[in-house]
């Protein structure tokens, strides 16, 4: 059990925040994101394959997170529009409300590629691998997502 604990600690240390941020952007709320991180950890401990590299491990974790978030959103449709709206003004992002509003207005399909692109620095090929989509689809989502953000963030947007 000690080894398992050590492993779990390592994952949280290395990837905890990363996975939390991704889940947070995906679900647009904190509590669910924490649950997701926990569930990802459980799956890691139970089902993780042998990884070829740290990159591989990271990508695996992100993919699992993605799938769990996707399922959770489907499940969350039970919640009404009102309740969800309050969480959109996420307290952590208050200072960045303009950016956060723009991002959270994007449908989840766009948000997740935008996040993986801007936050994690993945290329569209890599994002396609993580999400199990076609690269052309990812590129299209990125492009549309960026266009939508650009419209909102005209003054700060920079093509660089």
């Amino acid at each position: 059990m000690d080894e398992i604990r050590e492993n779990a600690q390592r994952i949280l240390e290395e990837y905890g925040d990363m996975l939390f941020r991704y889940a947070y952007v995906y679900l647009k709320e904190r509590e669910g994101a924490e649950d997701i991180v926990q569930e990802v950890l459980v799956r890691y401990l139970k089902k993780a394959p042998v990884f070829e590299s740290l990159e591989h491990e990271k990508a695996w974790l992100l993919r699992v997170t993605s799938n769990l978030c996707k399922n959770q959103i489907a499940y969350n449709r039970l919640r009404t529009g009102e309740e969800l709206r309050e969480e959109l003004i996420a307290r952590e992002c208050e200072d960045y409300s303009v950016v956060w509003d723009a991002v959270s207005d994007l449908p989840d399909k766009y948000r997740r590629v935008i996040h993986l692109y801007y936050q994690e620095g993945y290329s569209s090929r890599e994002i396609a691998e993580i999400l199990g989509q076609r690269e052309s689809t990812v590129r299209s989502l990125l492009r549309r997502g960026r266009q939508k953000l650009k419209a909102v963030l005209k003054e700060v947007y920079d093509f660089a």
Binding site: M1, R5, D17, F20, R21, Y24, V25, E34, V37, E39, L41, V42, R43, L45, K46, K47, E52, S53, E55, K58, W60, R63, V64, N67, L68, K70, N71, A74, Y75, R77, L78, A90, E92, C93, D95, Y96, V99, W100, I114, Y118, S123, E129, I130, G132, E135, S136, T137, R139, S140, L141, L142, R144, R146, Q147, K150, A151, Y157, D158, F159, A160
Partner: protein
């Protein structure tokens, strides 16, 4: 300040505290411990109300930028066969069906030797060592393209009439995760092929066969020859050396598929098209640019199809290149023999295969604007020949917004400057522009398009949706004919019989943009100057439909007045599969069948018809445990 920096600064505020991490750790550990003790089946935990199955582990990703140390030029591996070739190749091999190949097609320049190809990759490898990820990435429009005359899934007529995959261009077939011949369905999910016998009252699984190490991408059923083609992929070396395979099976006895051949093409599967008995496979590959000085990595630069290196003159190079888009063809009669190959040393492109030509297009950005570069290739008998290239301003936003008819190519594109603008451009056979319409529907974007002969219908949207009708019968003078403003928008348009156009989309509040539900619209397009809405139905309980992003998910049987799709439901976490009939005499939509999918892990659904019976075929996220209870194909009852 860049968006990236701002985004990251914002995300820096989002962290887990030490206590939170501790709590997560303890709860996760106790969950794992519990299971070990009780030996519960994998995948069930207390936190999710329904059992979840997570996607199977997958391999590999490109590693982050590795600095390249150039230790000097090494000699290139010896090339047999190809050697130096003159730029203009006039040839006529074997069958005499290949025409002289152009050396330059727009920006695409054919390689004259393998050296040129290596040089391009070497240059790119220098780039790679300088923060590859900060370079601007070209972004493409989604999936597949084409134009349709009056395509639907009516499919095969006759005794065992059944539906077929909804495709973009009539006569140009496409793969899908499920195919049927009326008596059996052939489906793929993850690494397995499943064959069901659907002749009885309940579909029965007769074959379950693991085919791929991880994932089967798509299937194509060649009924004429009684063969099933399965497209799957394999990754090696940390995902760099992906290979795509097309395995053909003799399914004349569906209970007993027999492998008859394998076709192998390097790269990750992107797309496939089948026309006139020829299969066209499109893959995309990234070269191990950062390790270019290693001999085995350089050898990887020249792809081999079924063990044979692609000749250098089949490559279109650019000065520096780290990616290859590979296209090849084979005949369904001889699925192991490659007819022709082509490599574009480019980022991936989008595919539109019209009746007469193949168009590969991609977006290009410069400081001020965005353009889409479209390159035309003929593909007769499987031979790929570049014809010409043209550029349009803006991006092509919809699968059906690029369309070829009678040799002319019509393209609808949207660009963003101060506000968005839309345009139509028409090109002739040589890809020279003949005419166009500039700047319509300013401030809106193209959401859907469809061509019926020489009339193009397109939906633009900001808060309301005008349906525009453009007459392109004179390629030099396309004319905007009618315009119809309605609320909401259509994501998908489908020709629905004489003078009828069906739209599947959403109803929205014109002032707030709030989603009011999935909307079905029937347009009367008899008079191009005055399109009219003659039937509307808003499905308030659905907030989205799969038709929005997956044209293959649409079932259309115009002859029977039926169409169907899958919608996502507001009230529950479930999806609904719906079959509607358009009643022409009463101008109404009648729901004929409706099924709630209670397992919310469904990824894709298809409605199939065999005779007068209907079925729903599924593919969902992860199987093993769940699948035992949920059939992959089931009867679609009312």
């Amino acid at each position: 300040m860049t968006l990236r920096r701002r985004y990251r600064e914002m995300m820096d505020q989002v962290t887990l505290s030490e206590e939170e991490k501790q709590r997560i750790l303890e709860q996760a550990l106790s969950s794992v411990k519990e299971e070990k003790e009780e030996k519960k089946p994998v995948g069930k935990t207390a936190y999710f109300k329904k059992g979840l199955a997570v996607a199977a582990a997958f391999a590999v990703l490109v590693t982050g930028g590795v600095t390249v140390k150039m230790t000097g030029l090494l000699t290139e591996p010896a090339d047999e066969g190809a050697g130096e070739k003159s730029r203009t190749e006039a040839q006529s091999v074997d069958t005499g069906q290949r025409e002289a190949r152009k050396a330059v097609v727009g920006d695409y320049v054919r390689a004259a030797s393998y050296d040129e190809i290596y040089a391009a990759v070497r240059k790119e490898s220098l780039w790679k060592s300088l923060d590859y990820f900060s370079r601007e990435k070209t972004v493409d429009k989604a999936t597949t393209e084409g134009t349709v005359k009056n395509t639907d899934t009516t499919g095969v007529a006759g005794a065992n009439s059944h539906s077929d995959t909804n495709v973009v261009t009539e006569g140009v077939y496409e793969g899908d995760f499920v195919k049927t011949d009326g008596s059996y369905t052939y489906q793929c999910m993850e690494d397995c092929l499943y064959i069901y016998d659907i002749r009885g009252s309940k579909p029965k699984e007769i074959v379950k066969k693991k085919i791929a190490p991880r994932e089967i991408h798509t299937l194509y059923l060649d009924e004429e020859r009684g063969q099933l083609l399965v497209v799957w992929g394999k990754e090696k070396n940390g995902g760099r050396d992906g290979v795509t395979y097309v395995t053909s099976y003799d399914v004349t006895d569906p209970g007993n598929p027999k492998e008859t051949g394998v076709y192998q093409q390097p790269g990750y599967y992107e797309d496939a098209r089948i026309k006139d008995g020829i299969f066209y496979l499109f893959t995309n590959r990234y070269l191990a640019v950062e390790a270019f000085w290693k001999k085995e990595k350089r050898q990887q630069v020249i792809p081999e199809i079924n063990g044979k290196r692609i000749a250098c003159d089949r490559f279109y190079v650019r000065p520096e290149a780290g990616t290859e888009y590979v296209v090849s063809s084979f005949a369904l009669d001889h699925p192991e023999d490659s007819i022709d190959q082509m490599v574009i040393m480019n980022h991936g492109v989008s595919v539109y295969m019209g009746e007469n030509a193949l168009y590969l297009y991609e977006e290009e950005y410069d400081k001020e604007s965005e353009k889409t570069k479209i390159t035309k290739f003929t593909y007769r008998d499987g031979y790929l020949n570049g014809v010409g290239m043209a550029k349009v301003t803006g991006a092509i936003l919809d699968t059906f917004a690029i369309n070829e008819q009678d040799g002319y190519l019509r393209v609808l594109s949207t660009s963003w400057e101060e506000e968005s603008r839309n345009r139509l451009t028409v090109f002739d056979e040589k890809m020279e522009q003949t005419g166009g319409i500039e700047g319509f529907a300013k401030g809106e974007e193209i959401y859907a398009a469809r061509c019926l002969g020489n009339l193009i219908y397109c939906v633009t949207y900001h808060n309301t949706d005008p349906l525009f009708v453009i007459d392109v019968s004179d390629p030099e003078n396309p004319v905007m004919k009618g315009e119809l403003k309605v609320t909401g928008f259509a994501d998908y348009l489908h020709p629905f019989g004489e003078n009828r156009l069906l739209g599947i989309g959403l109803e929205t509040d014109p002032t707030t943009g709030e989603n009011r539900g999935v909307k079905l619209t029937m347009y009367d397009v008899a008079d191009p100057l005055k399109p009219e809405v003659i039937g509307v139905k808003v499905l308030k309980d659905l907030y989205a439909s799969d038709a929005q992003y997956d044209y293959k998910s649409v079932f259309a049987d115009v002859k029977r007045g039926l169409f169907g799709f899958t919608g996502s439901s507001n009230r529950t976490e479930e999806k609904q599969v719906l079959l509607f009939r358009w009643e022409e005499d009463r101008h109404t939509f009648v729901c004929k069948k409706q099924k709630l999918l209670t397992y919310y892990g469904y990824e894709n659904t298809r409605i199939l018809r065999q005779g007068e019976r209907f079925f729903i075929a599924h593919r969902y996220y992860d199987s093993v445990g769940m699948r035992r209870e949920i059939p992959l194909v089931e009867p679609f009852e009312s």
